[in-house]
Symmetry: D2
C-alpha cells in the first residue's frame, strides 16, 4: 500500500501517522521526494481500512497494491477451483475447464411443471437444474414462491432425472430447509448481506454468489471472501448484469467481467443471460457471447408449458430454443479451448 502525504505536512504529523500505522502491524518505508513524501506500507495491509486512511487530512491519496482478498486471490492459489456436485453419471464439475449449463424455470410452480422442464433440459444438454422456491420480488404483492414446498419439488425432480439443482436462499434462518440442496444461490440483492454470507461460510455447501446490482468486481470478491474466510471455499461467482441507464435491456451484461475475474481469482465464473437481459430473444446471442468470453458455465431460464406460455417470463426460452443455444455454446466452447 502506498500513501502519499500532502504538501506541508509537519514532521510531528508524519511521525504520528507512522506510529499509528506501525501499531497496525505494518512496516512503513518513507521516501521523501522533491515534491512529495510517499509512505510504502509493507506487511499484511489487508486489515488497513483504505477509506479511513484516504480520508485523513494529511493524506493526498492512497493506493492499494496488493488486493484485499486473500482466499479468493489467484496470486495465492494459482490453480482453478473445481466444484463438484451430483453423483455417478450425473456428477457435474464446474471450473478448471469443465463447463456447466444450469437450466430451468424462474419459479417452481408445480410437480408437473418442474418434472417436465427437468426432463426436457436434461435431454437438451443441461447438466444442472435451476428453479426458484424462495423468490425475491421488488413488490411484496408479487408471488413470493412456493418456499419449502418448492424445495421438495426440486428434490423430486432430482430424484427422477438425476440432475443436481441450484436454488436461492433468502435468509440464514431457512438454512435447515436447504440441507439437501446441491448448490445454494445468493441473489444479487443479498450479495452484501454479510450475516447471511458468514452463515453460509460455516456450511459446506457450494455457494453460487451473484454479483450485486452495481457491485464492483472487488466487492464481489470481498463477498466471496466473507464466505471463504469462515471455512467454505466452494464458491462460484455469477455475472448477471449491472444497473445502467438504457431501457432496452433490464441490465447491462458486463461480459468483460469474466476474463477480468478469471485473472483475479481461481473461483469458477458463470453467466446468467436470462436475468441480465430480461428478453428471451437476447438469451441466445448473450449465452454464446458469454461462452466466447470464457465463462465456466451458464444459468438459463427455460419454460415448457405451451398452455401457460403466456404467463411465462419474457426472458424464458422454450425447450427448442434452449436446445439450439446449448448446441452452439458447445461448439464455441470448442473453439475457445484451442
Amino acid at each position: 500500500m502506498i500513501a502519499v502525504l500532502k504538501n506541508g505536512v509537519t514532521k510531528a504529523q508524519r511521525d504520528n501517522l507512522v506510529k499509528w500505522l506501525e501499531s497496525q502491524n505494518v512496516r512503513v518505508h518513507i521516501s521523501e521526494g522533491e515534491v512529495q513524501t510517499v509512505l510504502g506500507l509493507i506487511g499484511d495491509t489487508s486489515k488497513i481500512d483504505i477509506d479511513l486512511l484516504s480520508g485523513l487530512e494529511i493524506i493526498s491519496n492512497v493506493t492499494r497494491i496488493s488486493e484485499p482478498f486473500k482466499s479468493a486471490n489467484r496470486r495465492f492459489h494459482p490453480d482453478d477451483t473445481v466444484i463438484e456436485v451430483g453423483e455417478g453419471e450425473n456428477k457435474v464439475k464446474i471450473g478448471g475447464g469443465n463447463f456447466c449449463i444450469m437450466a430451468g424455470p424462474c419459479s417452481v410452480e408445480s410437480e408437473e411443471q418442474i418434472l417436465a422442464i427437468a426432463q426436457s433440459v436434461k435431454a437438451s444438454g443441461a447438466n444442472m437444474l435451476r428453479g426458484g422456491a424462495f423468490k425475491p420480488r421488488t413488490s411484496p404483492y408479487d408471488f413470493q414462491g412456493l418456499r419449502a414446498e418448492g424445495l421438495q419439488l426440486l428434490m423430486k425432480a432430482r430424484e427422477v432425472t438425476g440432475l443436481p439443482f441450484v436454488t436461492e436462499i433468502m435468509s440464514a434462518s431457512h438454512l435447515d430447509l436447504f440441507a439437501d440442496v446441491d448448490i445454494i444461490q445468493v441473489g444479487a440483492r443479498n450479495m452484501q448481506n454479510f450475516e447471511l454470507l458468514k452463515e453460509l461460510g460455516r456450511s459446506n455447501k457450494p455457494i453460487l454468489l451473484k454479483r450485486g446490482m452495481s457491485a464492483t468486481l472487488k466487492e464481489l470478491l470481498m463477498s466471496a471472501e466473507y464466505i471463504m474466510s469462515e471455512g467454505n471455499e466452494n464458491v462460484i461467482l455469477c455475472e448477471r448484469g449491472i444497473r445502467s441507464y438504457d431501457s432496452y435491456t433490464r441490465n447491462v451484461l458486463d461480459l468483460a467481467a469474466v476474463p477480468v475475474l478469471n485473472g483475479l481469482t481461481h473461483l469458477p465464473i458463470i453467466v446468467d443471460p436470462s436475468h441480465a437481459t430480461g428478453v428471451s430473444r437476447l438469451v441466445r446471442p448473450m449465452a454464446c457471447a458469454a461462452t466466447a468470453a470464457g465463462a465456466d458455465g451458464l444459468i438459463i431460464e427455460v419454460h415448457n408449458d405451451p398452455v401457460h406460455a403466456l404467463c411465462d417470463g419474457a426472458q424464458s426460452l422454450t425447450p427448442e430454443q434452449f436446445s439450439d443455444v446449448a448446441r452452439r455454446v458447445n461448439e464455441i466452447r470448442g473453439i475457445m479451448n484451442w
Copy 2:
C-alpha cells in the same frame, strides 16, 4: 395500466391475453387505433407483474399509470407521517414540518467515547444520537463493530443524555437485542433483504430505511412497502448517495430525490451527507444543501477525540464543525419554511 399490442397480433392471441388479465381481477378496455391496439387495465393492477407482461411476445410496451406502492403512497394518505421517539423534553418528531438532526460516531468504540460525543452533539443541537454497533464492512477482515456490547453503550448514552438513538440491524436473528432501540436502521446493502424487511414489519419500532447503492426511488418505496404491508407504518426514508463513476466523492448525493419522494410519499425523508460524500469538508455544504432541498432531517457523523482523531473517518466532523453546520441548517430551515 396501459398495454400496447404489437402489430400483427391475431384476435385469438389478443383474446387469450384479455382472458388471462381478467383472471387477475382487472377489467380490460380495448381501444383499437389505426396503427396500434391499446389495452387499458382497470382495477387493482398493483398485483400485475409488469416485467412479465412487458416480456410477452405480443406486447409492444406497458406503462403503469398508478404507482405500485399503496401504503407509502401520498395519493392515498395525503397527510405527512410524523414519527415520534423519546420522551418528555427529549421527545423527537420527524416529518410533518419537524426537523431532526441525528449525530454521532461511525462506530461505538467505548463508553467514554460514546458518552462524550453524545453530550457534545446534544449541546450543539442534535436531537438524536447515532452510532454503529453492528457494522457492515466490505471486507471480512475489517472491524465488525462491538455488536451487542455496542447496543448496551448506546443505551447508557441515552440514559445519561436523554437522547434517543438510531442504530443499524444486520440480521433478523438479532431482533431481540434491538428491543430497546429507538429507531432501527436498515443499511443500503440490506434495502432489498426482503426477509429482514418483513420481520421488521412485524415489529412496532420506527425503521430508518436507507436507499440501496443503486436503487431507484420506486424500489426504495417498494422496500418501505414490504415493511408497511406487514403492519409497521413507521418508516423514515434516507437518501445516502448512489453509485456513480467519479472518484472525488464516494457516492453521488441525489438531492432531487428529496422533493421527488416528498411528492410520491407521506413518509419523512432524511439525508446522510457523511456517507454520501465520504469527505468531511463536504459535509457542511451538503448538509446545508439537503436542508434547502426540503429534507426532514440529517444524519451526520461526528467524532470527538483529538487523540485518536487520526483514526477517525475521513467523513466525520469535529464537534465544532458540527455545531457550525447545525446553526446554518437551522437558519436555512427557516427560509425554506416561508
Copy 3:
C-alpha cells in the same frame, strides 16, 4: 403516442391540449377510463417533443409507441443495409451477412510504422485498415496526432496494400482533407456534435458512428438519423463501451446492444473491443464474444514494432495476437451463421 392526463384536469384544460396537439398535425383519440383519461395520438408523432409534453402540469405520463427514428428504422426498411468500400479484390462489404475486420494502430506515427502494420494485418485477415490522424485526447498536452500528414500516410498505406481505411474526423472544417478517405469515423465524444453530423449527412462518404460515452441506443440512432436525414444513408454503428463505475476495464462493453440494435435498425453494427476494455489481454475474449453476439464486424488496435512496444497502448495487440483473434472470430462467425 399515448398521453395520460392527471386526475382532476378540467375539460377546458383538456380541450386546450387537444387543440394544440391537433395543430401539430396529429389526430387525438380520447379514451375516458374510470380512473384515468388517456389520449391516443395518431399520425406522424415523430415531431412531437416528448420531453415538453411530459412536462406539462396536466400530464401524468407519456409513452412513445412508434420509435422517433425513421430512416434508420428497420420497421420501414426491413432489409439490412450493406456498405461497400474499396475496389476489385480489396472490395469490402459491411452488413447483410458480410463480416469486416478493421485493424491498425491507435495513431499513425510514421510511414514505416503504418506500412508495416497495414501489411501485417492484411496478411492476418483484416480487410480494412484503421489509424488515427486527428486524435481526440482528454488533455490538450497529449499528442494530438499527425493530422493532415497522417491522412497522407494512410493513403500511402492503402496504395501499397490495397486496404481501404477508416479514420476519425474532429471538425467539419477538415472535411476537404477527408475527400479521399474510405470511411469517416465520428468518435464517441462527437456523437452529438449535431452540426458535424449534418455536414457529414451532406457528403456521400460512409460514416462510422461510435456510441457516445453514456448514450442510449435511441440517442445513437437519432444521431444516425441526423446524418441520414440530410441524405447520406451509409452509416455504420459502433458499440465501444459505456461509462460505468468499475475500474478494472476502461468502459463496460455493452454487447447486448448488438442484437438489440439489430432488431431496431437495418444499419450494420460493429464492435471496438480495444477501446472498450483498454486492456490488451481482454481484446481476444471480447472480440470473440462480440462475434458470438452477432456483430457485423470488429475494429481492433494492432501495433507492430517490438522496439517501441513499450510505448504502445495497453490495449493494442501484437500481429501474432491479432492473427489468433482473427482465426477464432472466423470460426465463431461460422457457428452463428448456422
Copy 4:
C-alpha cells in the same frame, strides 16, 4: 506520479522503462520494497499518458499525484477568478464571492417573447439573460432554434434591458455571429468537442462550459484546460446533472461537484437546476440547494406567456415562481457567507 511494477519484472525490463520515462523528461526515483518495486516520477509529469503507462505489461498500477490540469488548477492560482461582463449599472461579476443569476427562456422564439421575459426576470432579480438561438436537439426533426435571427433578438433584449446575455454555440464556423455575445455557452454534448474548445480558446469571450452527460470532474477541468491553454482564461464551469438510472428526474444533479470543484480550481462554478431535473416543481428546491452548496450562480429557465404556457417546457418557471426562487436564494447566500 507513482508507478508500481509487477512482481517478476526483470532488471532489463525495468531499465528499459526507466530509460523511456527519462526520455519523456521526468526523473525516476526507484524504491525497491520487499514486496514491490515502486517508481516515483519527478518533474513535469503532466505530459505522461497515464493510460498508456498503466497498460504496460510490466506495470501493476499508476497513480497521478499532481493533477494534470495546470491553468485551471487552484494550487497554482490560489485566488478565485472573477469574470466580468456588461457595463455600467448592468455590470455583472461572477466568482470570487459575486453571485450571478442567469434567467430566460429555453429557446428564443420572437422579439415579443424575449423582450417580455428579459424585462420580467430583470425585475425579479436576474442579472443576466439566457436564451437559446442554436438548439442542440436529440432529434433532427425537432425545432433547431432561430439561429442567427435568435442572436439578433437577444441583442435587442440587451439593448432594451441592459442585461448581458449568454447563449450556446454549436460550431466554430458560427463564431463570427457570436462576436457581440457576452458569454458563449458550450453545451454538455460538446464538452469534448476539442476543435471547438481550441477555437474558443483563441477568442477573448468568457465561456460557460457545461459538464458533459457523464463527464468526470477531471474531464471537465481538462476541457477547461483546452480553452485556457490557447490563451482564454475566462471560463465558467456549470454543473447540469449527470446521467443515471432513475427516471423521476432527467438527470442526477451532482451538487457535491460544487465544493469539490471549488477546491480543485479557481474558476467560478454555476448550477443549472432546470435542465438537470427537467421538472419545474423541482427547480426551486434545487436552486436553493445549489446555493447552499456554494455555487457562484444559477442558470434558470423562465417562460412568461400564459397563452402559450401549455407548450412551454416542463422545466420552466413562471416569472412569479422565479421571483420567489431569487428571493430565497439571496437569503441562503447570506447564511453561507457567514
